[in-house]
């Protein structure tokens, strides 16, 4: 009959109206600044740089290889490579970025820098409350602002961080073993033909850089 559908619809809205006062489950609104939902583990906003030791500057995993800078689609990363080498967290001498800036007003959160980084040095952050009064300077983050500890990384992405740590440990073990083998071989060789080929053994690089896969 004509008008039946209207009455049904009115009953439905009336049910919603009354129900929203009775049952809390109906109201899905989260009143944001006071209440907040924990972000999903795979949430990503902007990149940050991971460091290992207590000192952020010394512990940065980044070796300024500049792959992320080249791969970045909107070109929001700016890196200056150091002239000298400094020992990293493991103690190996490495280049380091004297300047590492990300313009987050340009960044499109594509995560390509994270994909291409061979050193697990850049990861995605979940911090989203980045509003600032300074439109240009405030959104250009330098390496000090970008540096965050591995503990922080474990806190925001526990599963991923555990995988990364396992991989790094494996690589370290592999390179240690290789270094040990190379050192042993060198020692044997040196012992066998110490007088004749002393120089050739010394030129062989004792350690090779682990590049991951």
């Amino acid at each position: 009959m004509l008008g039946e559908g209207i009455l049904k619809g009115m009953a439905e809205t009336a049910r919603n109206f009354a129900g929203s006062f009775v049952s809390k489950e109906r109201l899905t609104t989260v009143e944001y600044p006071e209440e907040r939902i924990a972000p999903a583990e795979n949430a990503r906003v902007f990149p940050f740089l991971v460091y290992d030791s207590a000192d952020w500057e010394a512990g940065l995993r980044c070796v300024a290889c500049q792959i992320c800078e080249k791969e970045c689609p909107p070109k929001c990363i700016y890196i200056e490579k150091s002239k000298d080498k400094k020992p990293d967290a493991v103690g190996k001498p490495q280049f380091y970025p004297t300047r590492f800036d990300i313009d987050i007003s340009v960044c499109m959160s594509c995560q390509i820098c994270v994909e291409v980084c061979p050193f697990e040095a850049i990861k995605m952050d979940t911090e989203f409350e980045l509003a600032t009064e300074d439109r240009f300077g405030g959104l250009l983050l330098d390496r000090k602002q970008l540096a965050k500890s591995n503990q922080y990384y474990h806190r925001i992405h526990p599963t991923e961080a555990a995988e990364v740590d396992a991989r790094l440990a494996e690589e370290k073990a592999k390179s240690d073993a290789k270094a040990k083998v190379a050192a042993d071989a060198a020692a044997v060789k040196t012992a066998a033909s110490a007088a004749q080929t002393a120089n050739s053994a010394a030129t062989q690089a004792p350690v090779q850089e682990g590049t991951g896969d």
Binding site: M1, L2, G3, G5, I6, G9, M10, E12, T13, A14, N16, F17, G19, S20, F21, R26, L27, T28, T29, E31
Partner: protein, 391 residues
């Protein structure tokens, strides 16, 4: 005491006016009443906007505004400050004087309608003999201002919105008038105070409101449909259909002129609900004879707010009609049914006081409703839309 409470505003006005010399008293009385109307209804407007936003939110399982003041009650004030401080933009190619006058004319015309509404016992600004006629004359002039707004803006969306508004308002104006004529036929007067008096007596504890008769119920439903269309409320909000026309006839209005349109729209809603209350729901009379001790103005405003709530409820439920559905519905269903209702009213008037007239009138109206509904649905004039796709 009860009589004093009932007449408190009238007595207050008399007390105030008594301070003035006798020659100025008539003017002062009118000015005071006007001031009261001009203050009360915009206040009610603010409250209604809040109620609407909260109510619609609840119907959609949201919270609605709740940040400004307790329960978001100060939201209308914040909105008012916002619209007052916003830039007032007039398009370069607009017809500036007409563009400026349109919102003013709308609000003035709508306010005029309140002059004849009895808001309580003895609480009517001008007790005209032809009050109903005056009300409809003023109501019709809102169409002019809507068209002025649409035409002077020099904007295709505004013009389309205005065209739609005028087509819709004229179509439904006919229904609005004809459904009220039924009441005039029974009450025998165009004066709104007399129409209320005619309904203000009781059979046992129950009131003799016109809605509790077959023709009155039918007339009220038709009146409600026409009133919704007349005030451009959902589901008849085509003139400002934001998905098609940006904002319809007030697309080019900003700042306080937009606020005036907004105010005018809600005031039109109040005045048309007030008239519906007066014609069919017994105006300021109490719903049961044992409740007459509650002041009459409380009853009027409660009925008004109840109608407003139904408006909001419908807005929360119904989607917008298409233009052809709107026109078909007006001319092929509502208008014929209203004309039939006039006949039934005449029959009711001349069939005497027995129970036969209840049976005969109800039977005719129900049969007509079912048959017209069935035929209309069958021909798809106002049924669900059937989609035909290209092969």
């Amino acid at each position: 005491m009860i009589a004093t409470m009932d007449q408190i505003f009238v007595l207050f006005e008399h007390w105030l006016v008594a301070f003035l010399p006798a020659s100025m008293q008539p003017v002062a009385t009118v000015l005071l009443s006007v001031a009261a109307i001009v203050c009360v209804f915009p206040g009610l407007f603010a409250l209604t906007v809040w109620l609407e936003r909260k109510g619609l939110g609840r119907m959609q399982n949201r919270l609605g505004p709740n940040r400004v003041g307790p329960f978001g009650l100060l939201q209308p004030i914040a909105d008012g400050i916002k619209s007052l401080t916003k830039e007032d933009i007039v398009p370069a190619s607009a017809d500036a004087p007409v563009h400026f006058l349109a919102p003013l004319l709308l609000v003035v015309a709508v306010f005029m309608g309140f002059a004849v509404l009895p808001m309580g016992r003895n609480m009517v600004l001008v007790d005209m003999d032809a009050g109903l006629l005056f009300f409809f004359a003023m109501g019709a002039s809102t169409e002019v201002s809507v068209f002025m707004a649409g035409w002077s803006s020099r904007n295709k969306y505004s013009l389309l919105g205005a065209m739609r508004a005028v087509a819709q308002m004229i179509s439904y104006e006919v229904v609005l008038l004809l459904s009220s004529v039924a009441v005039v036929m029974i009450a025998g007067s165009l004066s709104l105070t007399k129409i209320v008096e005619a309904q203000n007596h009781y059979s046992g504890v129950f009131p003799n409101w016109y809605i509790f008769t077959p023709w009155g119920l039918a007339g009220f439903i038709m009146y409600a449909i026409a009133a919704t269309a007349e005030t451009n409320r959902s589901p008849f909000d085509l003139p400002e259909g934001e998905s098609e026309l940006v904002a319809g006839y007030h697309t080019e209005y900003s700042g306080f002129k937009f606020a005036l349109f907004f105010l005018g729209e809600y005031l039109a809603m109040f005045s048309i609900s007030g008239l519906g209350t007066t014609l069919f729901l017994g105006g300021w009379s109490a719903p049961f004879s044992f409740l007459v001790w509650i002041p009459s103005w409380i009853w009027f405003f409660s009925k008004l707010m109840l109608s407003i709530f139904v408006f909001i409820w419908m807005r929360g439920t119904l989607p917008r009609l298409r233009q052809d559905q709107l026109m078909n519905f007006a001319w092929k269903f509502v208008l014929p049914f209203t004309l039939l209702n006039l006949m039934v009213t005449a029959l009711w008037r001349f069939m005497g006081d027995g129970w036969e007239r209840w049976v005969v009138c109800s039977a005719i109206l129900i049969a007509a409703y079912v048959i017209m509904g069935r035929v209309g649905m069958y021909r798809e004039h106002f049924g669900p839309r059937r989609y035909r796709y290209a092969e």
